[in-house]
Symmetry: C2
Subunit: 247 residues, 2 copies
């Protein structure tokens, strides 16, 4: 499994992903799961992925190839006029790759599926965040709850639901994400560091600021320790259950 | 889905379960998911269940029938000499019921499966806690991490991992369970109140103290509100991420 989260903030967008991939417990590797393409000053596009590694690599490679040679840039995510068109291109690419791979294979379990979060901004438009399903359709993030999670989402969801505010600073958002990732890593062997963080500043159209968090990162380990203590302290401050006098 | 947790404490055992069952979003009912049998002063047995309702009801009914008539009490969980034998009886019953139901049906998805947590104590023995799989095998809880969860386990797991101590009081354990259930209910529509809590006091061999928590329960709602605030406060007290000066 993977764990990836993308937040849409007032100030910009943050994409965070782990790097652990596995094809069985004895076949573990590290691959980046967040990718970006852009034209400085004009557009920035980010894609983070969970699911079958071969499928997601094929999608990333196909998209990258289409951006390399000027003449072959059609359909290219670097030429699409809107983020909506970018989402369509990526979702069509994804659906095609799954269809080709799955053909002639055992159907049933959707073993070749992958899910993407697409975010970005193109000059003239607002910053947009989409969730692209393996079936090739997609949804945009809601204004009420402007974040998406993919992969092993459940362990880290309660704190996101309670802690996320769209107008929080990048610094506070990174802290929140670290807590969410820490809860996931503590509970699930298939999600692990290094963690990649891509930070895009709204209306900058400049490539992301990238932070790599390895397992010895002092800030991440401090958050992990302190969060454990803070949770215990919080529990301790809540009043205990009281049995009725007649019980 | 369901969410059920059983804790093995120094003072006894606690079983907590929700009551929501659904066969699709428009077919929602409430059924208890924790059951008990016992002979006062001699043995107490608790069973909590997640999965297919027809399967778990069939298991519960079969077990109950075998305990009603003295002559038909073989194999009966009220006659088994040890909790291990009780676990064997239940797991065999479960495997048989799934096999009979699934026969001649579409296989593939394990639609008739159910999982149980069995806890209890029989005079002369220690209190025991087992997880019974749909396949009919079972494991006992570890001394290091003496709790089991079944059903929709992931949302409420991080706080259990960090907050649970085997020597905590019943009152504190109930508080911890309420936080774990609240996190789950907040994130997942298929888990909901009323919540049932069964509390067994170690070496008492007396039937459980039962608490029913409905959606208007003042303690549960206080915990839900205060926990949300406490989480936000805890997040606020942790130092925010700091970008390097040269970034």
């Amino acid at each position: 499994m993977s764990y990836c989260v993308a937040l849409k903030l007032s100030d910009g967008m943050i994409f965070m992903s782990d790097t652990l991939t596995n094809g069985g417990l004895d076949n573990i590797s590290q691959y980046p799961k967040t990718f970006s393409w852009g034209i400085e000053g004009e557009r920035q596009i980010f894609l983070t992925t969970a699911g079958n590694l071969a499928t997601s690599q094929a999608v990333i490679s196909t998209l990258s190839e289409q951006t390399k040679v000027q003449d072959e840039r059609s359909p290219s995510i670097l030429q699409a006029p809107t983020m909506f068109q970018v989402a369509r291109t990526i979702s069509e690419t994804l659906a095609q790759i799954i269809e080709v791979t799955a053909k002639g294979q055992q159907m049933g379990e959707r073993a070749f599926s992958a899910t993407f979060i697409l975010g970005g901004q193109i000059k003239g438009g607002r910053q947009r965040l989409y969730l692209i399903y393996p079936e090739g359709n997609f949804i945009e993030v809601s204004e009420e709850n402007p974040f998406f999670q993919i992969g092993e989402t459940k362990y880290g969801r309660p704190i996101l639901i309670r802690g996320f505010e769209p107008n929080m600073s990048f610094e506070d958002a990174i802290k929140l994400l670290m807590v969410s990732f820490d809860s996931t890593i503590k509970a699930n062997l298939s999600v692990g560091p290094p963690l990649d963080i891509h930070i895009y500043e709204k209306d900058s159209f400049e490539s992301a600021h990238i932070i790599k968090i390895n397992s010895k990162d002092p800030y991440f380990n401090m958050i992990s320790d302190e969060w454990g203590k803070a949770l215990k302290d919080s529990l301790a401050t809540l009043p205990s259950y009281k049995f009725d006098a007649d019980e």
